[in-house]
Every structure is written in C-alpha cells, then in structure tokens.
C-alpha cells in the first residue's frame, strides 16, 4: 500500500493544514507579544481562511489521503460546518474573556487545536486517525474546561469539571481502544470497511462484544445514557465558551465519525448491536428529558436536553439498518446542523450577558429578560422553541426528518419514546420562556454590551435568521445534504 504523501494528497488536506498553520502562528505571536485582540482576530480570521480553502478544495473531493483520511464531499461539508461553529465560538469567546484577569491568549490556541482534532475526526475512515483526532479534541477540551483557573468569582468549579471529564473521558477512551483492539485481533485491519468484508466468518459474540465496547466509549463522548452522568456537571463547571464548544463541535464531530463508521462497517447487521443502541436511545431520551424537568440551572438544562437530543439522533442511526440508508444519513446530517444552530444560539444568549467575571446560568437570572432585553429574550425563546421542535423552526424540521427516517425503518417503539420525550421536554423549555416574561429582578447586572460584543450580536442575529430560514425553507440545505451524503 502506498503510504508516502504526495502534493496531490496535500491539496484536499488544506483546510486542516491552514488551521494547523494558524495554531502555530498564534503560538509564535503569543511568544512575541501577548495581545488578546490580536490573537483573537488571528484565530477568527484563520478559521475564516480555512473555511474559504474548504470551499476551494471541493473540486478535489473524493480522495483517499493515505489509508487514514477520506476527503469526500461529506467530510468537506462537515469541515465547513465545524469551521463555522468554531469560528462563531471564537467570536463569542472574545468578549467573554475580555475582562478575565489572567492570560487569555492560550485559550484560542486550545480552540484551534481542538478544531484540528474535530476536522480529523470528520474525515477519518480508519481507527487510527479517528482515535488520534478524538484525543486531540479531548485533550484540548480538558484544558479549555479548566481555563479560568485563577479566576476566583468566575465559574464555580472549572477544575472539578475538568478533572471529572478527564478521568471519565480516559475511561471511555480505554473502552474505545479495547473495542478497536478486539476488532483488530480478528480482522487484522484498522479500516472501517474491513469489518463489513470479514463479517460472517467470525463468531458473532466476539464482534458484538467489541462493538458494544466501542459504542459505549462513543456513547460517553456523545453523553448517551447510561454514560451521561458527567454531562451536567461538566457543562455547569466549564466556562460558557468551552461548554458551547463541547456541546456543539465535540458532539457533532463524534456523531459524524460514528455515522461514517456505522455505514462503512455495516455494524448494524448484528441484531443485538441494534438492540443495544436502541436501549441507549430510549434511556437517553427519557433520562435527559426527565432530569431537565425541575432543573433551575440553564447550563444543566441544556446538558440534559443535549442528552435527549443525542437520543433522538440514535433513532435515525438505527434507521440506517434498513435499506433506506440515505434517509437516515440525511436526517442525522440535518439534525446535527439544527442542533448546532440552536445550541450555539441558546448558549450564545447566555454568553453575551455573562463574562468570565460573572456567569448568568440560573433560570432565575433570566427572569424578566423580556422586559430588559427584548431582542435577546426573543432570540432565546426562538432557540428554546426550536429545541422543543415547534414548527417554523429548524428544530422542527430536524425532528421531522428523524421521525421520517424512523417511520421508514418502522421503528414504532422508539418513535413512541421520542414523542413522549418531546412532550415532556416542552414543559422545561416553556418554563424558561415563561420566566423570561415575568417581572424582572433588577439586581442582576448583566455585562454591558461594548464594542467587543458586536461580533457576538451579529452571530446571534445570523443564527436566528438561519433558525427561521431553515425552518421555513429546509429544501435548500436538504438538497445540499442529499448531494454530499451520496459519498459515504
């Protein structure tokens, strides 16, 4: 097998290379002169450049770069999504960190490195690159979560959150590695497709154990029940931009990787694997929604809600088992984008009124927001309604496609759970909306919106526009997804 990298191989890798270059550049700049604005701008512009190169390399799509990476339309599509999300988070991070009385520049470095990991993950079709990408992402995240280390008031327990995430994530990585090792021992290959080829020849029980270990590890990263318990603690403890990154880019990259693995390896041809994933889906939907019910902390509510949303996605994943593979892939792709938009929006509202000095993450802090900051309240309302899956929002369309995939696959039991879960979820989303309409408690001093927040407000407006646009005309995005999903 040819393993040397040629120039032709490097072209499709350009987006990843640009991000890497920017990371190196940022590191050098920090060494030369610490300047928050400079590093922040470099990061945002660098991510923008990478985004442009991602569009430029579209004609070179469909290329296997070394046995490790597959740069096709699908991976480039999610490269674009992740670069956009990472860029938005960098924009949100800037005002948040502005007043942190500590060294803030390295945060952007971590964000860039985490993004490299995420980009590698969405392009992998080999266990080695997948694991490398995953660990690059995770290790950067440990540091991002613990970032406001020296700030006293800031967030409550960044170190505790980071440590919890570190230990548990290491456990889950170990599970993944064990699963990979078992598969490698049988097939002698780390290619995703190898499993599909050697499938029937080995005893099922062996494969099933390996796959369950693998799914358990992945389930942890996606915060699926019963591996979900870390989620609220880490979400709550981490500073808001890091939470945002973990919730959006981290989950999306993992989900894309899982999707590619499941399609390539045909892991779902094992009935018991389907059952195991089904169990995880049911548990996630019920546990996530039930736990959020009376929660008073916005970050924890969003954490529980993300557990439930990942559960919904598993239904579409199981639907891949059926002949109608395309629909499942499309549903997951659309839902991921919807999920990123709504999560960024919801966390974004919290970010623009919070700062590293003081975070507003209790529902009580949002009481009367409608009377104080009507536009922000409207935005948060739209995001929450979208998370609840109310029509005219992107969340509704996303859920619609998931249900459609489920119906095509005749997964009636799982769909019933989805309906019950969605019903429960409306309560806690609307509870926040209701609180925003009450009389304000004026003792809460939100962060003043200065020049540094202009970008954040622009991104929020863009997210709201996307939320409504994709909610009313989903056809545009869906036709793109239909094209790109052919390649996997």
């Amino acid at each position: 097998m040819e393993t040397a990298i040629t120039i032709q191989d490097l072209v499709p890798l350009l987006p990843v290379l640009v991000v890497t270059g920017v990371a190196v550049l940022a590191m050098l700049l920090i060494a030369l002169k610490r300047n928050h604005t400079l590093i922040g701008a470099t990061t945002i512009i660098g991510l923008g450049l990478a985004l442009i190169t991602a569009f430029l390399v579209l004609p070179f799509a469909g290329q296997q770069v070394t046995p490790l990476l597959m740069i096709d339309n699908f991976s480039l599509f999610f490269t674009i999504v992740i670069l956009l999300a990472a860029g938005f988070i960098a924009v949100f991070s800037f005002p948040y960190l502005y007043h942190l009385k500590d060294e803030v520049e390295e945060y952007y470095l971590l964000l860039l490195i985490a993004t490299i990991g995420a980009l590698i993950m969405v392009s992998s079709n080999h266990f080695l690159s997948a694991f490398l990408g995953l660990e690059t992402l995770s290790i950067s995240l440990y540091a991002m979560i613990a970032y406001p280390l020296h700030s006293k008031e800031a967030v409550k327990f960044p170190v505790e959150a980071s440590l919890k995430y570190l230990v548990l994530s290491a456990v889950s990585s170990a599970l993944i590695l064990f699963g990979i090792a078992l598969l490698y021992a049988q097939t002698g290959s780390l290619q995703f497709t190898e499993l599909a080829m050697t499938g029937g020849s080995v005893a099922d029980g062996y494969f099933i154990t390996a796959l369950v270990l693998l799914f358990a590890g992945v389930g942890f990263k996606l915060s699926l029940a019963p591996f979900h318990m870390w989620t609220p603690d880490v979400y709550e403890g981490a500073p808001l931009p890091a939470t945002m990154y973990l919730a959006t880019v981290g989950k999306a990259a993992m989900m894309v990787l899982l999707l590619r693995f499941v399609v390539a390896s045909q892991a779902l041809s094992f009935h018991s694997v389907v059952v195991v994933i089904g169990c995880m889906a049911v548990l996630s939907i019920l546990a996530g929604n039930l736990l959020a019910l009376v929660q008073e902390n916005l970050k924890r509510i969003l954490a529980y809600s993300s557990i439930a949303h990942m559960g919904y996605l598993l239904i579409a994943l199981i639907a891949l088992d059926d002949a109608s593979t395309r629909l499942g892939v499309e549903a997951i792709s659309f839902y991921l984008i919807a999920y990123i938009v709504m999560s960024l929006g919801a966390f974004g509202v919290a970010t623009v009124i919070s700062s590293s000095e003081k975070e507003f993450d209790f529902v009580a802090d949002y009481q009367g927001l409608f009377w104080r900051e009507p536009w922000l309240a409207l935005l948060l309302t739209a995001m929450l309604l979208s998370l609840a899956g109310i029509p005219l929002t992107v969340g509704f369309i996303g859920k619609f496609y998931v249900v459609l995939a489920g119906v095509e696959g005749s997964l009636w039991g799982l769909l019933l759970v989805l309906v019950v879960g969605s019903g429960i979820s409306i309560y806690y989303y609307l509870r926040i909306v209701y609180r925003m309409l009450l009389q304000p408690q004026l003792d809460q001093a939100y962060r003043e919106a200065g020049w540094d927040s202009i970008g954040s407000y622009a991104v929020l407006a863009l997210l709201l526009a996307l939320l409504l646009l994709l909610g009313v005309y989903p056809g545009f995005l869906m036709s793109i997804i239909e094209v790109v999903s052919v390649s996997i």
């Binding site: 230990v167 548990l168 099933i208 358990a216 019963p226 318990m229 609220p232 546990a287 736990l291």
Partner: protein, 615 residues
C-alpha cells in the same frame, strides 16, 4: 367592474383592520369616516356591479380569487358567485348597512367604545357579504360563523354589565346548536355528492337523488337546523329577544335587517335541495307559521320597546319561512328586503326614542311623545304601517304575495293562509299598540329629539324605502325560474283580496279601541283568570326559556357539578405525578461523585454487553 366585486367585502374588512389595529387611538371624526365610509364605498361597488350585472343580461357571474384549501378530493376556493338573489342581498346589506352606520356615528357618539363599535360593525358587514357572495358552502360557512362571532361581540358590547355578557353567550350557544347541524349537513352533502360548490351541489343533487329520497330529506333537514338557529325560528328562537341587550343600531343591523335573515337566504340559495324533499319544505312552512303566531302573541304582551320589535322580527321571519315553505321563493326574498327597510327604520326610530328618554325602554313609561319627537313619530307611523302591511306600503306587497302563494299551494295551504292572516291581524294590533302607547295619550316624560342630520337622514331614507319599496321589482326570476310557474296563473277571488286588505285595518282599529281611545280596557282583559294566565304564558315567550332551562341547562349544570374534580384532569394529573416521580428517582443518580460516575459507566458497559450477548 364585476371583476372588482371582491372589493365589496374588502372595504369593510380594511375598515375593521384599521380600526382594530389603531386600538381606539384615532379621533372620533376619523373613526366615523373610516367606519361608515368603508360601508359607503362597499355600497357604491355593490350598486355599480349590480347595475353592470343586470344590464349585461347574464344570469350568473363567478369570480375565483384563489384556492383556499385542498385536501384529497376536497377543495374549496375563495370564490364569489353573483346572481339575482345575491344582487338583492348585497344591495340590502351594504345599503341598509351604510344607513345604520351613518346613524350610529350620531347614536354612539358619547360611547367610550366608539372605535371598537365600528370595528365590530365593519367586520360584521364584511362577514355578511362573504356569506351571501360565497360560491361554495365552506366559504358561506366562514361568513356564517363570522357574523355569529360579530353578533356575539356586539350583543355583549357593553360588557361591564354581566347581564349583557349572559345574553351574548346565550345567543352564541343557541345559534351554535344550529351551526352544528349545518356543519353536519355540509359533511353529509360532501360525502354524498362530492362537492360543496353550491351550483354543482344543486345540479348533482337533482341528478342523483329522487324527490323525497332519504338523503335529500336528511340533508335539507340539517340545513334547516342551521337556518332556524340563525334566523331565530322555532325551536331555536329564544336567543333573539335577549340579544336586544346590544346597542340599538346593532339590533337594527344584525338582529333585524341582515344576519337573522341569513337562514332565509340559505334556504333560498339551496331551494332545489328543499324541492327534492317536499316533507321538509312543508315543515319549513309550518315552522314559519307556528313561529309567527307564537311570536306575534308574545309581542302583544311585552312592554320593552326593543323586545316588542324583536318578537316582531321573529314573527316576520316566520312569514318568510312560510313563503319559502310553500315555494314562493321570490316572495320570501322580497319580504326579506322590505322587512329590512321597515324593521331597520323601526329600530332606528326606537333608538332615537330611547336616547331621548335617557335609555328608558319600557313603553308604559313613555307616552304622548308625538309632539316632542316628530321625526321618530313619523318614522314609527311609516314603519308600523309597512309592518302591518297597510295597502300600498312595501310590507303589503310582500306579505300579500306570501299569503296568496300559501293559499294557492293546495293541500294544507288554506290552513297556512288562515294562520298567516290571523298573524297579520295580531301584527297590526301589537305594532299599533306600540305606536299608540308611546306617542299618544298622556305625556309622562317631556323629551327633546336628540338627532343631528346623520341620525335623521337614515330615518328619512329608510322611511321612503319602507313606503315605496314595494314597487321595486327584485331581479330573482332567473334564480327561481323552475319552481314558480304554478303561481303565475292563479287569480284569487275579489273576496280574498278584500279580506287581506281589511284584516290589517281591522287590527289597527282594535288596537285603537284598546290603547288609544281606551274604549275597551286591556287591563280588564289581562286581569280576568284565563287572560291573566295567557298573558303570563305569552309574556314569558311561551315558557320556552323555562323549558330549555329545565331540559338542558339544569341537567348539564348538575352533571358539571358532579364532575367538579374532572375525571379527565385526574388522568392527566396522574401523568404529571408519574413524570415528577421519575424525575425525583433519576435526580438521585446525579450525585456529583466521580467514583459513582465511573462505576456507572462500567456497570453500563457490562449490562449492555450482557444484553448484546444474550439477544
């Protein structure tokens, strides 16, 4: 011009939107201009398009604006249909409607809800125009419900008084019974005939159903249910007298001239269907006759000026139903029009009287107002003459046509005719009782007419119409051409003619002897045993309210009491308990301890592997 008939409902609707969204912020002259002006514009459109339609010689004209909804085989368009019947209706609605709006600009001028009043009124006119212009029954139903809503809003216009709110609710609930029946009729027609377009419907019904077939009977019965609800006929007439709680122009516009005649319009519009079900058609006649007699007797005993007029309205719509029932379609529509003129006149004049006496409505506290309120007096004289059908007034022509048609219809026709004539006698007695008691005799309260030109002019115009409206030839021949051949030939004897002219005059005479010259004493009649009982019975509207109270309201209320805890709610409450218990259980797992989390991860892996291995 005909392509612009959509402007007809559009103007009032625009007026409503302007008034509704400015929320009473506009100055009164602007509100008056928008409120009355939009109806004036609608009338101009109605007049021009009617002129063009009639001079073009077409029998019908159709305008489809857009598709409203489509699902499977069903589709319904926003589509208007114009023929002779519609022309009469739109002219009456926009013409009389405009006069009443103009009158209201004066009548309501001191009311704090001025803008809201005109907003509702405009919405009403828009809905009513949609109702009569509708090309299909779904659109008609939209207008039908729209006028019902406005009627509810306007009866309860002075909502600070709970009694008015009660009256509004009563009207809404009682008409809802009829509306439900009509909706069922629509469902039946669609499932049987596959369309709800009125013209296609009539055509298909004629093709598929035999005369007297069960389906035709069922469908026309259900539609009749809707018609009696809206038009306040037996057995759903009880809401109309209470509806007088609204401002008097409302009573004139909605509860006399237009909305309550929607039932008559509906039956005339679907008359081919009723011809397929002769039993139902004769039921229509009998409903009309019984209602007109009952309401006539009741009107005789009332002493609230508006309630007398309300019962009189019920009674006159009874005549229209009688006309419809004997197949005198155009006579019924003719009476609809003349009734709109003279009853609107009477209500507006009554409004002037009430306003002059500072909202006094009992006729026995009035008296001798002839000199003080000349305009109202002459309006009442003209209006009552037309209502009584004195010769050459408009009411004479229309009522005459209906009664003659009844006489010629054969079978039980003579009986219907006789009933109608007796009704006419009582009409004369109660309407001139009102005139004599209010305007003659001793003067209890000296009063001064409080009317500007905007209140006088509508009275004058309506007075002229009430007098001369009988000479208008309504252009409905083409609409009803298949049903009425028989009547053209007949010539009733001179005796019949003389009798029908004499009866109202006799009635006026009786009324004079009782209530003006006091030669005969009404009090003595009422105090005698049988008289007192009858008076009490009639005064209560034949005890219908008490009957419905006992049969429907009381059992329903006690059922509701029985279910005070709400069984359904308990079930839903169970769901809540279940969910919150599950939440409480799960929250315990979120301990925050790393060791517990790690253990749960491992336990989860083991359990999942077990599940995977076992299945």
């Amino acid at each position: 011009m005909l392509d612009l008939i959509w402007l007809l409902p559009a103007f009032p609707l625009a007026g409503f939107l302007i008034l509704a969204f400015t929320g009473g912020g506009l100055p009164k002259p602007v509100v008056a201009t928008v409120g009355a002006g939009s109806i004036g514009l609608a009338f101009i459109v109605a007049a021009l398009s009617s002129y063009e339609f009639l001079s073009s010689g077409q029998t019908s004209f159709q305008l489809t604006l857009w598709e409203w909804m489509a699902a499977g085989d069903f589709s319904s368009a926003f589509s208007f249909y114009l023929d002779g019947l519609t022309v009469v209706m739109i002219l009456v609605i926009s013409g009389v409607g405009f006069l009443i709006h103009l009158y209201s600009t004066g009548y309501m001028s001191d009311d704090p809800g001025y803008s809201r009043f005109f907003a509702y009124m405009n919405l009403f006119v828009a809905a009513m125009l949609v109702l009569v212009l509708a090309d299909n029954l779904v659109l008609l139903y939209l207008g039908w419900e729209g006028v019902g809503l406005c009627s509810y809003l306007l009866i309860g216009f002075w909502y600070e008084n709970p009694a008015n709110g009660y009256a509004a609710r009563k009207a809404f609930v009682v008409t809802r019974v009829g509306d439900t029946s009509m909706a069922l009729g629509l469902f039946l027609l669609f499932t049987q005939l596959g369309t709800l377009n009125i013209q296609e419907l009539m055509h298909n019904a004629g093709q598929q159903w035999q005369v007297g077939s069960g389906m035709a009977v069922a469908a026309s019965l259900l539609l009749l249910g809707g018609a009696v609800g809206k038009s306040a006929q037996l057995p759903l007439q009880t809401w109309l007298p209470d509806a007088m709680a609204g401002p008097t122009p409302i009573s004139a516009l909605i509860h006399a001239a237009t909305m309550v005649t929607a039932g008559v319009y509906l039956i005339a519009r679907t008359h081919l269907l009723f011809e397929l079900a002769p039993t139902v058609q004769s039921l229509v006649a009998w409903v009309g006759l019984i209602t007109l007699l009952m309401a006539g007797f009741t009107a005789l005993t009332q002493h609230d000026i508006k309630r007398i007029l309300a019962y009189s309205t019920i009674s006159q719509i009874g005549y229209m139903f009688l006309g419809l029932g004997v197949g005198a379609w155009s006579a019924a529509v003719f009476h609809l029009m003349t009734h709109a003129f003279f009853k609107a006149l009477l209500f507006l004049a009554a409004g002037s009287v009430i306003l002059s006496l500072h909202h006094e409505q009992s006729i026995f506290k009035m008296g001798g107002l002839r000199k003080h309120l000349p305009v109202s007096f002459w309006s009442f004289i003209v209006g009552s003459a037309a209502l009584t059908a004195l010769p050459l007034t408009s009411g004479y022509f229309s009522k005459d046509e209906i009664l003659l048609a009844a006489l010629e219809s054969g079978g039980s026709g003579t009986l219907l005719w006789l009933g109608g004539v007796i009704g006419a006698l009582f009409t004369a007695i109660y309407s001139f009782r009102l005139v004599f008691v209010v305007f003659f005799g001793e003067c209890h309260h000296p009063a001064k007419e409080v009317s500007g030109w905007n209140m006088t002019a509508p009275l004058v115009v309506l007075g002229v119409l009430a007098l001369l409206g009988g000479w208008i030839h309504i252009p409905v021949d083409a609409v009803f051409s298949h049903g009425e051949m028989a009547h053209e030939e007949a010539h009733p004897s001179l005796f019949i003619h003389a009798l029908m002219i004499a009866i109202p005059i006799i009635g006026v005479g009786i009324s004079y002897l009782f209530f003006c010259s006091r030669t005969w004493s009404a009090e003595k009649l009422v105090q005698s045993g049988l008289g007192a009982a009858l008076h009490k019975f009639w005064f209560s509207g034949w005890g219908m309210d008490r009957l419905y109270q006992a049969v429907f309201v009381t059992p329903f209320v006690s059922l509701a009491r029985l279910n005070r805890k709400d069984i359904i709610d308990l079930l839903i409450g169970l769901l809540v308990t279940l969910t919150s218990q599950a939440n409480r259980l799960l929250v315990r797992t979120q301990t925050g301890y790393l060791r517990w989390y790690a253990a749960s991860v491992m336990a989860g892996v083991i359990i999942l592997i077990a599940i995977g291995a076992l299945l």
